[in-house]
Every structure is written in structure tokens, then in C-alpha cells.
């Protein structure tokens, strides 16, 4: 066991635990921000300012009775939350979150702060996003409940509709990045224009960034596209029949997906770990700040915007977002050609 291998395994487990933690933190942040926006206090009894509230939630969910409708398909019913959670975690494996480091000379060679450095990273993100449909559609179908089935179908149709724009927004970055590796793309964004504008791709791809974020929010089933939560029409959508930890798995998957979408957005559009003031080895702090800002934006959106109606959602996805994404791609290509970037 070389030190590098140990460090790699340690890093893999560390990333996993941090993702779990980030979901817990997001549960707390969401409730606190919601309370702030609605002039309430939010959770404040469990621990200082309610910081232990997520822990209390998990303990509560652990001891809850697990219910499964009698006519449900037992195997698929149990499998669906596992698929949802696994897909949520898998995408983060290719996301880099810091520059190469030796931990102050402890390692003989540099270790990339990333679980797996593959040269098709962006496609892996897209592939995992396309697989996460199954957790939802199977949850909806296996429950054998009308609300679950309708909710699952709607959510999956929504996800596949917005996946196209998601993929096309990724392709827009590839034209200026010339690589499928996220590490390469982040490194292309180092430095500044005119000494003060950071060379982030968001300035070259403003429309692409908007498309990416819109499609990302729809992919993660968040407001204003949060159809599983349209309780007036679908109760709780695909997870109507889920309780206890199985429900918690869907909850976890939603938050981890949000973190992944934000992390990929940071790497693609916001310069990853590059930023002023801090040395390269502390770049991950910039990364966390940027991801945190996007996550806050997520929560802010949820408590500000009303929910779309389903036909509006589908029309927007197919008739507005998709053509705009294609045009953005072609204009980007033409721009690269014209300005010889």
C-alpha cells in the first residue's frame, strides 16, 4: 500500500461522508432560510440554533414504521430508493473540487482532489443524470398507488425532457473548453481578463449557464419544477407510499443531486477552485463558497417562485429551453470561429 493509494482511498471515503454531511447541512439551511424568508424562527430547540435538527430528523425516521402497500411489488419497492441514492452519489465521483496537492509534502506525488479523474467526466455526469430516472419511475410503478404512479410518470417525463437541454448546455462549454475532462476545463478558467475579470466560462456562456441551471433545477425536481411536492394534485408524487428510511433515501438523493448539480456548475462555469487571495492549495475553500452560493440560490428560488403547471412545464422545456439551447450552441460555435478564441 503506497501512501498515494491510501490517500486515494481515504479521499474516496472522505468525499462520501462529506456528501452525506452536505445533505444534512442542506436540510438545516433550507429550513432556516425558509424561516428567514417567511419571518419565522425555524428550528431552534435541538442544539444551538437548532443545528442538531437534521440529526433528530434522521433518528426519528430510523424508528418510524416502514409501510409497503399490500399490492406493491416488494422487490422493486425496496430497490427504487437504493437506485435513487446510488445514482445521486455516483455522479459526484468525477467532480474535481481542488487543485493537485501533496498535503504539505506528505505524499511523494500530487493527489488530485477528486475521486476519479476520467477523461470523459462530463459525459459521465450526463450518463448518471440519465440513469437517475429509474429510481423515480420504479418507485412510482412498484407502489401500485395511483398518486405514486402518476407522480412517478410526471417526474420522469419532466426529467427526460429537461435532460436534453442539460446535455446541450454541457456541450456549449465543451466548444470553448475543448475537453471532456472537468479538471482540464477548470484549469482553462485560471487567470483574469484585463487584470480583474476572472476568466470564468459564465462570461463566455451566460445563456448556457442559465440553461444549465434551469435544466439542473428541473432535473433535481426542485421548485419551481417540484412536481413531487405538488400535494394538491399528486399528494407526494412518486414517494407517496414511502416511509421511514426508504423515504429518507429519496430525500437524501434529492439533496445530493442538488450538491452535484451545483458542483458541476461551479467547475464548468464559475472557475472551480480558482479565485483571488487564496493560494492554489486552499482553492477548495473557493470551491465550497461557490457551491454554497448556488445552493443558497436553489433554496431562495424555492421559497420565492410559485410552482409551474405541468403543461406549462413541458411546453417550456420543449418549445423554449430546447431551441434556445441549440441556438446557444450554434452561436457559441460561430463566436469561437469569429473571435478565434
Amino acid at each position: 500500500m503506497t501512501p498515494l493509494l491510501v490517500a486515494q482511498i481515504g479521499l474516496t471515503l472522505f468525499v462520501f461522508v462529506m456528501l452525506l454531511n452536505s445533505a444534512a447541512v442542506m436540510v438545516y439551511v433550507e429550513r432556516k432560510v425558509a424561516a428567514f424568508l417567511q419571518q419565522r424562527l425555524g428550528p431552534y430547540r435541538v442544539g444551538w440554533q437548532g443545528v442538531l435538527q437534521p440529526l433528530a430528523d434522521i433518528v426519528k425516521l430510523m424508528f418510524k414504521e416502514e409501510l409497503r402497500p399490500k399490492a406493491a411489488d416488494a422487490f422493486l419497492f425496496a430497490l427504487a430508493p437504493i437506485i435513487a441514492a446510488t445514482c445521486a452519489f455516483a455522479a459526484f465521483a468525477v467532480v474535481p473540487f481542488g487543485a493537485e496537492t501533496t498535503f504539505g509534502g506528505w505524499l511523494p506525488e500530487g493527489l488530485r482532489l477528486q475521486v476519479a479523474d476520467v477523461n470523459v467526466a462530463i459525459l459521465v455526469v450526463f450518463a448518471v443524470a440519465s440513469m437517475s430516472v429509474y429510481g423515480i419511475v420504479l418507485a412510482g410503478w412498484s407502489s401500485n398507488s395511483k398518486y405514486s404512479l402518476l407522480g412517478g410518470l410526471r417526474s420522469s417525463a419532466q426529467m427526460i425532457s429537461y435532460e436534453l437541454s442539460y446535455g446541450l448546455a454541457l456541450a456549449g462549454v465543451l466548444i470553448i473548453g475543448n475537453s471532456l475532462s472537468l479538471t482540464d476545463i477548470v484549469n482553462r478558467q485560471a487567470g483574469t481578463w484585463l487584470g480583474f475579470i476572472p476568466k470564468w466560462f459564465v462570461f463566455l456562456q451566460p445563456i448556457g449557464f442559465l440553461i444549465y441551471m434551469t435544466a439542473g433545477i428541473a432535473e433535481t425536481n426542485r421548485a419551481p419544477f417540484d412536481f413531487p411536492e405538488a400535494e394538491q394534485e399528486l399528494v407526494a408524487g412518486y414517494h407517496t407510499e414511502y416511509s421511514s428510511m426508504s423515504f429518507a433515501m429519496f430525500f437524501l438523493a434529492e439533496y445530493v443531486n442538488m450538491v452535484t448539480v451545483s458542483a458541476v456548475a461551479t467547475d464548468l462555469f464559475l472557475g472551480g477552485w480558482h479565485g483571488p487571495f487564496l493560494p492554489e492549495s486552499l482553492g477548495w475553500i473557493w470551491f465550497l463558497v461557490k457551491v454554497g452560493a448556488i445552493l443558497f440560490f436553489y433554496v431562495w428560488m424555492r421559497w420565492t417562485l410559485p410552482r409551474y403547471r405541468y403543461d406549462q412545464l413541458m411546453r417550456f422545456g420543449w418549445k423554449v429551453l430546447l431551441p434556445v439551447a441549440v441556438i446557444n450552441l450554434l452561436v457559441t460555435a460561430a463566436g469561437v470561429l469569429y473571435f478565434e478564441l
Binding site: 450526463f126 440513469m131 419511475v137
Partner: protein, 186 residues
């Protein structure tokens, strides 16, 4: 080692696809089989093909399959509700449904598809023998760099540019076909 793991998963999952009574499970096993195939592509140092296998086959075409299976409501015979109905009908002396559920293999009904299936199986067997005997000759298997995304793109968009453009016509036909099939009522 990894090859055998993926190969065994792919073969076993594929065999189980046709051994399932519930088509939803068949779809899922097919996805598992595609996943294992994708692993094999990674072992062949063709990560682009591996990822495309997941995106297009496992992530798009199988979603369509799953929707179709759910749309046709094919596994209906498996559910409790249906069994209750059949039990009820049997009580009333109808007696037929129980037979009808298992009727797939009934004589005289499926002769043409069965013959066609037999023909296909024979053709596949011949093909397999041909590949296994001839396969050794194509020794110059391009490895490494040739399968990188940039090389694929370079070839596809220069040497095979015409094929690429024709693909769009194919996609156009598929699109029109889908719309016509699904919108017949209007």
C-alpha cells in the same frame, strides 16, 4: 478478472431477460446487461463508447421500453388485483381466464412467430460460429488512442461527414414516425 465479472453479469442478465414473466423485470435486467457491456467497453479502453452505451441505451431507449411496458400494462396478470378478479370469475364458473393467462404456449396460436423466432435463432447461431472461426483473422485490433473522443470526432466529422448528415435524415424519419404513431386521433 474484471472481464469475467462483467461478461458473466452480461450473459446471465441477458438470459434472465427472457426468463422473466414480468416484463418490467426484463427491462431492468436488460439495463443491468447494458451496464456490464459498458464495463467491458471501459476495459477495452473505449470510455466514450461505454458512456454512450449508458446514455443512449440504458438511459434513453430503456426508459422508452419501460414506458411502453407500463403503457401496455402487460404485467397485469401478475398483480394481486388481477388474481382476485380471476378467482372471482373462476367462482362464477367461467373457468377460461386461468387458461388464458397461461395461453402463450398454446398450440396453433403462435406458429408464425415461433417459426420466425426459430429462423432468427438459427441465423444467430450461424453468425456466432462464423464470428468465432473468422474472428482471429482481424488481428489488427486498433487500441488506445484510436478510441479517444477526439479521434472519433475527427473521423466522424471529416471522413464520415456524409454518413453523419444522413443520420440526421434517419432521425428525422424516426421523429415523424413517432409523431404519426402517437397522434392518430387528431
Amino acid at each position: 478478472m474484471a472481464f469475467y465479472v462483467f461478461a458473466v453479469i452480461a450473459v446471465v442478465a441477458s438470459v434472465l431477460v427472457i426468463a422473466q414473466r414480468n416484463p418490467i423485470y426484463s427491462v431492468l435486467l436488460l439495463i443491468a446487461s447494458f451496464g456490464a457491456l459498458s464495463g467491458l467497453y471501459v476495459l477495452l479502453e473505449a470510455p466514450f463508447v461505454a458512456v454512450i452505451q449508458i446514455i443512449v441505451y440504458a438511459g434513453a431507449i430503456m426508459v422508452l421500453f419501460l414506458f411502453v411496458v407500463m403503457l401496455l400494462n402487460a404485467p397485469h396478470e401478475e398483480t394481486d388485483y388481477d388474481e382476485r378478479i380471476h378467482a372471482y370469475e373462476a367462482e362464477r364458473g367461467a373457468g377460461v381466464p386461468a387458461e388464458r393467462v397461461r395461453g402463450a404456449g398454446a398450440p396453433g396460436v403462435n406458429k408464425v412467430p415461433m417459426r420466425f423466432g426459430g429462423f432468427l435463432a438459427a441465423a444467430l447461431a450461424v453468425e456466432l460460429v462464423w464470428v468465432l472461426t473468422k474472428g482471429g483473422e482481424s488481428g489488427a485490433f486498433p487500441s488506445g488512442a484510436i478510441s479517444s473522443v477526439k479521434t472519433i470526432g475527427q473521423l466522424l466529422f471529416t471522413d464520415y461527414a456524409f454518413a453523419f448528415e444522413v443520420t440526421s435524415v434517419l432521425i428525422l424519419v424516426a421523429m415523424v414516425g413517432a409523431v404519426v404513431l402517437a397522434r392518430r386521433e387528431s
